[in-house]
Symmetry: C2
Subunit: 400 residues, 2 copies
């Protein structure tokens, strides 16, 4: 077991920097004094940090605002051009990459077809995308924070998957992160797609500023996962497997699942099952756009799928609420937008919550704002998150 380690001044400074950035990010333009009040830091301390952040272009001052009294306020806000990040996503048929600025806005985008992506073929392709993205948009290379990558599966540091071989053939024990980092020469972070999406929504999306929420991710390839952000921290579980809820049992005597159990959530709600209901046998060969069109057209098969998927989904939401008591559950994923919309409109009535009388500042369920791009934008958010989010770890000294 890793012991909890001590802290010192250096860690404290790093933490305070992050706290200031986080305050400005979540609350919009703030004066130094306002930041000081929110963070409980001294005005002077904030002043020092803001000065430093302004020098490194992460914060920019706006026009001074004259109030009723006193010295005009100088509001500071995040400088979008202060840092850049690259997000990668690898699907069954294509590899995609985006270059975003600090505010999450997409500056450049590349998509390339790629057949049967095993590590040997995928790594050079991804490397090329990263390099081409840097050519496609003119920016200061020193401000590139790193590369984030979203993949199905579960990943430890260095991007080594912890799942069984059958879920990701060829990727077992392959150090994605280390290998890509060696090639592109900037820090690389690898995360599960649900977790990446959660971070994306937390930084730039509907979950901005929330302390605890669960992201329910419906993967286009089938398979449901949850990304958890709890008490201001990402929660990944003791073996990086937290949130693998595709295999929770929603129907004890239900359909047989590939995992050997009966009635797993994945067997009811995932897009793969929707294609079965719609009689689409060759879903893997069709392009995402073709699939979207088929779904948008609707039909009996789709309705039948919805009929049997809604109840397990409600049950899962109920379950996540009871277990995690999040402020909200964000629903999203890389599935077709129309499929998500149809699911969402059938969702109500949700199960009665445990505290029905309690007022809520946030809806129980929200739809993620980035649609099908959720995973790749989340991937791009990973380096930003890792550099700017206040965490318990940064306050502790590195041990060993």
């Amino acid at each position: 077991m890793k012991a909890i380690s001590g802290t010192n001044l250096e860690q404290a400074k790093s933490h305070n920097r992050r706290v200031v950035i986080e305050a400005v990010r979540t609350h919009g333009p703030l004066s130094r004094a306002a930041i000081a009040r929110m963070t409980a830091l001294t005005a002077q301390t904030v002043s020092n940090i803001v000065e430093e952040l302004e020098r490194s272009h992460l914060l920019v001052p706006a026009e001074a605002q004259k109030l009723a009294r006193g010295q005009p306020i100088i509001p500071y806000s995040i400088n979008p051009a202060g840092a850049y990040s690259i997000g990668l996503e690898l699907g069954r048929q294509r590899a995609s990459g985006v270059l975003t600025d600090l505010s999450g806005a997409v500056c450049a985008r590349i998509e390339r077809p790629i057949e049967h992506p095993d590590p040997q073929r995928a790594m050079p392709a991804l490397q090329a995308i990263v390099e081409d993205l840097q050519q496609a948009f003119d920016f200061d290379r020193n401000r590139l924070l790193g590369v984030g990558m979203a993949l199905p599966g579960r990943y430890a540091d260095g991007g080594i998957t912890s799942l069984s071989p059958q879920s990701l053939p060829g990727w077992q024990d392959f150090p994605v992160g280390h290998e890509l980092e060696r090639r592109v020469k900037v820090p690389v972070l690898v995360e599960n797609d649900a977790t990446a999406a959660a971070i994306g929504e937390r930084l730039h999306g509907v979950a901005r500023g929330l302390g605890s929420f669960v992201y329910l991710f419906l993967a286009g390839g089938g398979g449901i996962g949850a990304g958890m952000f709890l008490d201001g921290h990402l929660y990944k579980g003791s073996r990086n497997n937290a949130g693998e809820i595709g295999h929770i049992i929603v129907e004890p005597h239900g359909k047989l699942c590939s995992c050997g159990k009966r009635g797993c959530l994945d067997r009811y709600v995932s897009p793969t099952v929707a294609y079965e209901f719609m009689g689409i046998a060759n879903a893997e060969e069709l392009s995402p756009d073709d699939l979207d069109a088929l779904i948008a057209r609707g039909g009996e098969g789709l309705d039948a799928w919805l009929d049997q998927a809604v109840q397990p989904l409600r049950q899962t939401l109920d379950f996540l609420e009871l277990a995690f008591d999040p402020q909200t559950i964000v629903l999203g994923g890389s599935i077709s937008t129309s499929l998500m919309a149809r699911l969402a409109e059938r969702l109500e009535p949700l199960h009665v919550p445990i505290d029905p009388d309690r007022k809520r500042a946030v809806p129980r369920v929200m739809i993620g704002m980035t649609g099908k791009d959720t995973a790749i934008l989340g991937a791009a958010a990973l380096p930003i998150f890792s550099e700017t989010n206040p965490r318990f770890d940064v306050l502790q000294k590195p041990v060993g």
Copy 2:
């Protein structure tokens, strides 16, 4: 939303003190140099902190040990008599209190019958127990850290319950913690019974030193709850309701529950249901000992209950593993020891985990070591935990 606040040296010192205590608690007697290695603190810093902790009697030095080389090691360990704590539990028919030392050993114990405990009757009784416990054992009153109280339900700071009136008649909106604190003049901490039990096992029990685990609590009064300890921190949810898993749906078309849903876990696994199966109509009137005797005798009713309870329980364990990915799940509660034993022996085979090949340092499921006392000993652990556990909060400046 509460912003994450900054830190300073004072907070850092408080954190480092806690880190040193935690290191000694979980790893047994340690020399100063050993503590320094584990915590990544400087030998000098550790030396200062240890000196301070020794002065306040929290650590005691043992005999110097002569090694193969070098200066003899002076191992320090937790001084059981360095601090004391009081735990309270309120059941349907009785109120109990224990006085424990810093190691969790019980120094004194009081149990008193109490009929229909509403706040007006319970508060004076609890106050009397706290005062009598301090008389019953001779110790330095300045070393009493505080009073911890375990109750069914969910509690915010100050012990105000967040649940609906029907679950706890008369206690709705009653500030248990504040009221008791006013009476006994020491800090009072109120927690849900599952959470308290989790802390107890983490400090003195089978979960000692674990970073992430879930405590599955089977309450004697019926009702199942989970206490979560994740990444070294207690997780209580955004509205203190996390772990209220008695009402997760384990059988979508199953028995109707009082909450309005069908097939809730509580309707299958709780002791209340066991009594129904055994034909015990007047369970509330019987003493706990009588109930234990009935269960120990067994019979067809009990077997029938076990038959239908095991699958939902397995399903719940599976679910908790998938959602939280804990190092282990600790099973315990205030139910009869023989009932717990019978459940435990029927538990295998558990559902296949998501990473079957992975080696585990800790069993998937463990039985809590404190048996029926788990909640009250957990309650006594609350003040100790709150004073000595390294947390993210202590590193942050109090805001507002």
